[in-house]
């Protein structure tokens, strides 16, 4: 600052304005005082006023150009006579006037963005969404995949200026270079994979690889750009091929559906069959239990009867026979007597229908 004022004073003295300016300053307090005005001619007054005016302008300009403000998101690079001497942090700063110190502001804290294959426009549409420019940016987004197919990829590079001096003085057009490099790197990365991979599972890896490679290139140029992230946006096949891709998706769905339907059918049938099988087994088990129990019961019964029978075989035998007949005969429709050497019973069978109930009573009466 001090050096700046000296310089200013010298310049003023050199031009002879200083004395006049100070003279004006001493006389300025009583500009309207009596001794002056009558003697002042136009020739006298004009250069004096002109000089004072110019001096004032110069002083003001000098004062104003000494002060500058650095915004919070910025850093200022200070150059003295063309040479970079430092960086100023946010706040109010002084500098040497008259272009000795020049200041360049660089937004180092702001996250900057470059878009590829599309452009977001300023402002929003009526529903508050971002608006996208209508232009055709396919030349940016069209690229070849490793299997020599075509793909349309849109992406965004977010970056920050990490080193303002390098950013300004390592390259002339660092942002344009960032653009060129992003395109080059993205095409390399996409070209190093096959199309279906790029469209589906490869996205994250592509973003990361691209970020690393762009950063690597920026570091090589040493241009102070820090890549924050590379984000793939829409990655789609070319418009004409799109329906075919959809067809594949549909077919895939269709395949799933067919498989699901078959599975459904199987899932319905098999548990049912298992149930039926269990039923069959259970029934068999039931039969088995029944059969064995009956056998046991019958055997027991037989054994019991046998014990008694052995006590008095003849009597028991007759008794059982007759009891049995007694139980049986009432239900029997026809009783035929057959004697060896007589007419066989065949003709009699026809008569049975003619007199159905009558013979049934005959043995009963006979019993009594």
């Amino acid at each position: 600052m001090v050096r700046g004022k000296d310089w200013l004073e010298k310049a003023l003295i050199g031009k002879g304005w200083h004395e006049r300016a100070t003279g004006r300053a001493s006389a300025g307090g009583n500009g309207g005082s009596p001794p002056g005005p009558p003697r002042r001619s136009r020739f006298d007054a004009s250069p004096r006023h002109l000089g004072v005016g110019v001096a004032l302008i110069v002083v003001l300009w000098g004062l104003f150009s000494c002060v500058y403000t650095v915004q919070p998101e910025e850093r200022a690079v200070i150059k003295r006579l063309g040479r970079v001497v430092g960086i100023a942090d946010p706040g109010l700063h002084f500098r040497l006037p008259f272009g000795i110190d020049t200041v360049q502001f660089v937004a180092t804290e702001r996250v900057l963005k470059q878009e590829f294959g599309f452009r977001t426009e300023r402002g929003e549409d009526e529903e508050g969404r971002s608006r996208y420019a209508q232009g055709d940016y396919t030349s940016e987004s069209l690229m070849l995949t490793g299997d020599l197919n075509i793909i349309v990829a849109e992406w965004v590079v977010q970056y920050r200026i990490a080193d303002p001096i390098k950013f300004l003085y390592a390259m002339r057009e660092p942002t344009r270079t960032l653009r060129d490099l992003s395109e080059s790197v993205m095409r390399r990365v996409v070209g190093n994979r096959i199309g279906s991979d790029v469209l589906t599972v490869g996205r994250v890896e592509i973003s990361n690889t691209a970020r690393d490679e762009i950063q690597e290139a920026m570091d090589k140029y040493d241009n102070g750009i820090h890549i924050i992230t590379v984000e793939l946006q829409d990655v789609v096949p070319p418009p004409r091929v799109q329906p075919a891709f959809n067809e594949v998706n549909e077919a895939r769905q269709q395949r799933e559906r067919m498989i699901n339907e078959a599975n459904k059918q199987a899932n319905q049938a098999i548990p049912r069959a298992e149930g039926e099988a269990n039923r069959l087994v259970s029934e068999a088990e039931g039969y088995a239990t029944e059969r064995v129990n009956r056998a046991l019961g019958e055997a027991d019964r037989f054994n019991s009867v046998l014990v008694e029978y052995r006590g008095a075989p003849e009597v028991t035998r007759s008794r059982m026979y007759l009891e049995s007949l007694r139980r049986t005969l009432p239900r029997v429709g026809t009783v035929l007597m057959v004697q060896d050497g007589q007419v066989p019973p065949l003709p009699l069978l026809n008569l049975r229908d003619a007199q159905p109930r009558r013979p049934a009573r005959q043995p009963e009466e006979g019993q009594q």
Binding site: T145, A170, M171, R255, A266
Partner: protein, 314 residues
């Protein structure tokens, strides 16, 4: 009075001379002093205030930073005769301003020379290379088997193999070839990169048609795969059903068989004690089982009839 007047005049004259003798080299610049068109002395690369002879010498300034060059988009046939559009980009620096000044004068001149050199180098290299080589890179790691598995398209194994050189190597070759001519221009080429490669429009249409056909075949495969899997599942189901049913059947028969055997054993054990009485006992039981309206035939000399006769006689 003349003394007073001449003071500012002299001062102004001195100032003009001083201002003309002083020059500032910016951080981004380097300069050469030229005297009547002839470069004098070394390159002034130190930024700051410098002095020269006023009026007779002038300063030529050149950028010291890395500069970007963007090539024309050119149509080049590859070795495989596919026409592609190649867009290259490069970065260079004015390494020798003196030489630069002599050979190309300024950046516009440099740019046209770079256009010629880099474009022709790119053309040479691209036209001597297969397209795959330019698209893929040396770290190509696509597993062909996996793709065949996933996409179900029969691929020519060679169609997806690792490139021999790859894009990075080709770019380095371009840089080397182009750099050979650079010292004469006072330029240092830092890198040459392929920015864009695309098919020309007619080829693009063909490629798109190929992609469509490829997708359709994949779709077809999915559909038939669905049918196939569905049939397979239904077949499995049928197999399973038969297994379940037959196993159940077998188990049931086994159980029944065992029970029958058990019953037989029990009957055998019991009835074996008196076979003759058993026959009698069972015969009576079977009489009990006679249905309604059945016909009973009795021989005249059977016990029953005998008893009947004897009761009548009584």
């Amino acid at each position: 009075m003349s003394k007073l007047l001449s003071l500012p005049v002299v001062a102004i004259a001195v100032l003009i001379v001083v201002l003309n003798a002083a020059y500032i080299i910016d951080q981004a610049e380097q300069g050469i002093i030229v005297q009547f068109g002839e470069p004098i002395g070394d390159v002034v690369s130190e930024p700051g205030l410098h002095w020269k002879l006023p009026f007779v010498q002038e300063v030529r300034r050149f950028d010291r930073r890395l500069l970007a060059w963007d090539g024309d988009v050119s149509q080049i046939p590859t070795l495989g005769r596919e026409f592609i559009v190649v867009d290259t980009t490069a970065r260079y620096r004015i390494a020798d301003p003196l030489q630069f000044l002599r050979s190309v004068r300024d950046e516009a001149g440099a740019r046209t020379r770079l256009d010629d050199i880099v474009d022709s180098v790119a053309r040479d290299i691209v036209s001597g290379t297969e397209l795959e080589e330019i698209v893929r890179s040396a770290d190509w790691s696509v597993d062909v088997a996996e793709i065949v598995e996933e996409e179900g398209i029969t691929l020519d194994e060679s169609a997806l193999e690792r490139p021999q050189k790859g894009r990075g190597q080709l770019e380095r070759e371009m840089l080397t070839a182009a750099s050979r001519l650079m010292p004469g221009l006072g330029i240092e080429l830092v890198d040459v990169r392929i920015k864009r490669i695309n098919y020309i429009d007619t080829v693009r249409t063909q490629v798109e048609s190929r992609m469509i056909a490829e997708r359709q075949s994949i779709a077809e495969r999915f559909r038939s795969e669905g049918q196939g899997r569905s049939q397979e599942i239904l077949g499995d189901m049928e197999k399973e059903l038969r297994r379940i049913r037959s196993e159940a059947e077998r188990q049931a028969q086994q159980i029944i068989g065992k029970a029958d055997a058990e019953a037989t054993r029990i009957y055998g054990e019991a009835y074996g004690k008196d076979a003759e009485f058993y026959k009698f006992f069972k015969t009576l039981e079977s009489y009990d089982a006679l249905g309604e309206n059945s016909t009973l035939m009795i021989e005249a000399d059977s016990d029953f009839f005998r008893y009947l006769e004897s009761t009548r006689r009584r």
